[in-house]
């Protein structure tokens, strides 16, 4: 079973000037197939926690293990390869590649994995159909709405068949209809393909749909609530 474990994770920004403890001893275990929301006020460390779990940032103290891999033991380039194979990211600002079409954006990570062209193309189309964008495949990000871009981002995150998808406030820039639509898609993928979703959010609509809610306050887990859907 693929698990994310953090033990006593501390992350300090600006250690030399005015130190800010973004994470102050986070112990957390996220199991395969969960649909978890990390919530908390601004500055409580949500994004930092996601970055540390995703290997974008390294903890100053404590251990992070993702699917049995010790994040801290890996070099920067190993981390890039690790993310490519095991982790899908969805960013608040979509962050698609502006010069590529929706289909090419989804294919891109599979290209980095050196998958054959035919397989890339089929999977990209399948995923874009799954997020309801079959008619927008050849559009560039600038020709898509925010909601559509974020759906492309979800399809891109899913493309390499990662173990975990980490989404940082995925609905922050979306209207309620697009948000609901995106959440439906993510919930369905979670249910049917058993993909583990972890997202940071302070959007109540998202929190309502989560099956587990981890609340961070001042860089610590203040509550951890598991509930049915």
């Amino acid at each position: 079973m693929k698990v994310i474990t953090t033990k006593g994770v501390v992350k300090v920004y600006n250690p030399d000037k005015i130190p800010v403890k973004a994470l102050n001893g986070v112990d957390l275990e996220i199991k395969e197939g969960e649909f978890t929301a990390i919530v908390g006020p601004s500055g409580s460390g949500k994004t930092t926690l996601l970055n540390v779990i995703g290997g974008l940032d390294r903890p100053d103290e404590g251990d992070v293990e993702v699917g049995g891999h010790d994040i801290d033991a890996m070099s920067d380039n190993d981390l890039i390869d690790f993310r490519k194979e095991h982790i899908g990211f969805v960013f608040q600002a979509y962050n698609l590649i502006p010069v590529l079409t929706a289909r090419e954006n989804v294919e891109f990570v599979m290209l980095l994995q050196n998958r054959p062209k035919k397989e890339r193309r089929e999977r990209a189309e399948e995923l874009l159909r799954a997020v309801g964008l079959e008619d927008k495949m050849d559009k560039r990000p600038s020709e898509l709405s925010g909601g559509q871009q974020q759906r492309v981002a979800v399809a891109r995150a899913l493309a390499p068949k990662p173990d975990f998808i980490l989404a940082d406030e995925p609905t922050a820039n979306l209207d309620s209809k697009s948000s609901a639509n995106l959440l439906d898609i993510m919930a369905e993928l979670n249910r049917e393909e058993k993909i583990t979703f972890v997202f940071s959010t302070h959007d109540q609509r998202v929190i309502d749909r989560a099956r587990r809610i981890v609340t961070l306050v001042d860089g610590k887990v203040s509550s951890d609530e598991v509930r049915g859907e």
């Binding site: 974008l56 920067d76 390869d81 194979e85 899908g88 590649i97 590529l100 995150a157 390499p160």
Partner: protein, 412 residues
């Protein structure tokens, strides 16, 4: 897909890319044109020297080259001439007898080299006939005709139909003298040469050079120099080598050996193009660095995202290098074409340098320069541009891979 990405990336800022592409194209054009100009100038110098003075190959008696005395003539002239004429690749031959002496008029006297030539042979080897600007070229008619240069005529205050007296030693060592009539005035454009050379018929000169003891040499049997033109200058060394083997007792020299300055100039053409190329490419490096650095700096967030989703540093580095190379590759055909058109056009029509012609002619160059370029230079420039583009992208690409994704993603 990285190729597609790189290609589309360079067109995200069309104006900026076009400016740098334009700069590279102009740089290529300038490098080609300057090299073409320099090559044309050197070739004009070499061609003038070959045509007017040294010809492609010369054959002498070895001692003649050292001593310059009339007694060191080429033995068995007829056989030597036959051997040269039957050599493959030889276009024309002129046998000359040579004496060092003095030319005098009522105004004064000057030391000159007197060359005795067979008029129709000489006309096929050197440009002397074309360079005869007044009067007529030597012919079989008339008694003791002589060609002198404009320059010498002025110094001696003689003109067409004037009488001059030549003094020199004959083969027996006695001083001999004869009167000649100026039938033509020549001007090769090379002042030092013009001032010191006069041309007469070989039969006239031989008649004077042969002492009564060796009267057999009078007429056509005496010559000191065989000047040879070949069909293709590129074969000059092979032909000279084979002639040398055939005429073991004679000294066979190519124009480069006779006039080492020609070899020096010819050798410099390659260096000239390299120097121009280096200077221009160095300037371009900074233009490309600037463009690529801007392209990287305004894409920090995107580059961070690419590394976040799994694009490793090598690939990011490669993508930036590729973008820079593509700028170069777009500019390359444009610059090469512009350069080619310029060189072809000026190569045909020439560029008139007559404003500076006086200076040029005292160096033995023409006043109209025809651009010329060794085709290899195009390849050299293309490789140079490619290397420049790669070189210029290294710093921006390093900058890109030094980004930490998490920080890059945070930038706005």
């Amino acid at each position: 897909m990285i190729l597609i990405m790189a290609w589309r990336n360079i067109w995200r800022s069309t104006t900026r890319s076009l400016v740098v592409i334009g700069a590279i194209a102009v740089g290529i054009w300038a490098a080609l044109s300057l090299t073409g100009f320099a090559t044309g100038m050197v070739k004009s110098y070499v061609n003038n020297a070959v045509k007017n003075i040294v010809s492609h190959i010369q054959v002498h008696q070895p001692e003649f080259l050292d001593e310059n005395e009339v007694k060191f003539n080429i033995p068995d002239v007829a056989e030597v001439e036959q051997a040269i004429r039957s050599e493959e690749g030889v276009k024309s031959v002129s046998l000359r007898s040579i004496a060092n002496g003095m030319i005098s008029s009522s105004k004064g006297a000057r030391g000159v080299v007197i060359k005795g030539v067979v008029p129709e042979d000489e006309a096929r080897v050197s440009a002397l006939e074309e360079n005869t600007v007044e009067g007529e070229f030597l012919s079989e008619e008339g008694r003791n005709p002589i060609l002198i240069s404009e320059e010498l005529g002025r110094k001696l205050n003689v003109g067409l139909r004037s009488k001059v007296v030549l003094n020199f030693q004959d083969r027996g060592g006695s001083i001999t003298a004869a009167a000649f009539r100026v039938v033509g005035i020549f001007d090769t454009g090379n002042k030092p040469f013009d001032q010191s050379h006069v041309f007469v018929r070989r039969s006239d000169l031989n008649g004077l050079l042969a002492s009564p003891a060796d009267s057999a040499l009078a007429g056509g049997a005496l010559a000191h120099e065989a000047a040879i033109m070949v069909n293709d200058i590129r074969n000059v060394d092979t032909i000279a080598f084979s002639l040398g083997a055939e005429l073991p007792n004679l000294k066979v020299q190519t124009y480069r050996e006779i006039s080492p300055d020609l070899e020096l100039y010819e050798g410099q053409i390659k260096n000239i193009s390299l120097i121009y190329l280096t200077v221009i490419m160095l300037a371009l490096v900074f233009g490309i660095i600037n463009t690529m650095l801007m392209a990287v700096l305004e894409r920090i967030k995107e580059l961070g995202m690419l590394m976040a989703i799994g694009m490793n540093k090598l690939r990011v580095f490669f993508m930036i290098v590729l973008e820079s190379v593509m700028l170069g590759l777009v500019a390359m055909p444009v610059g090469l074409l512009l350069g080619y058109i310029t060189i072809e056009y000026v190569g045909k029509n020439g560029i008139d340098m007559s404003m500076y012609a006086k200076g040029l002619e005292s160096f033995g160059m023409s006043s109209i320069i025809y651009f010329e370029l060794d085709p290899g230079v195009y390849g050299q420039v293309a490789i140079g541009v490619f290397l420049t583009a790669v070189l210029a992208s290294i710093y921006p690409a390093l900058k890109a891979i030094r980004l930490r994704p998490v920080e890059a993603l945070r930038t706005l």
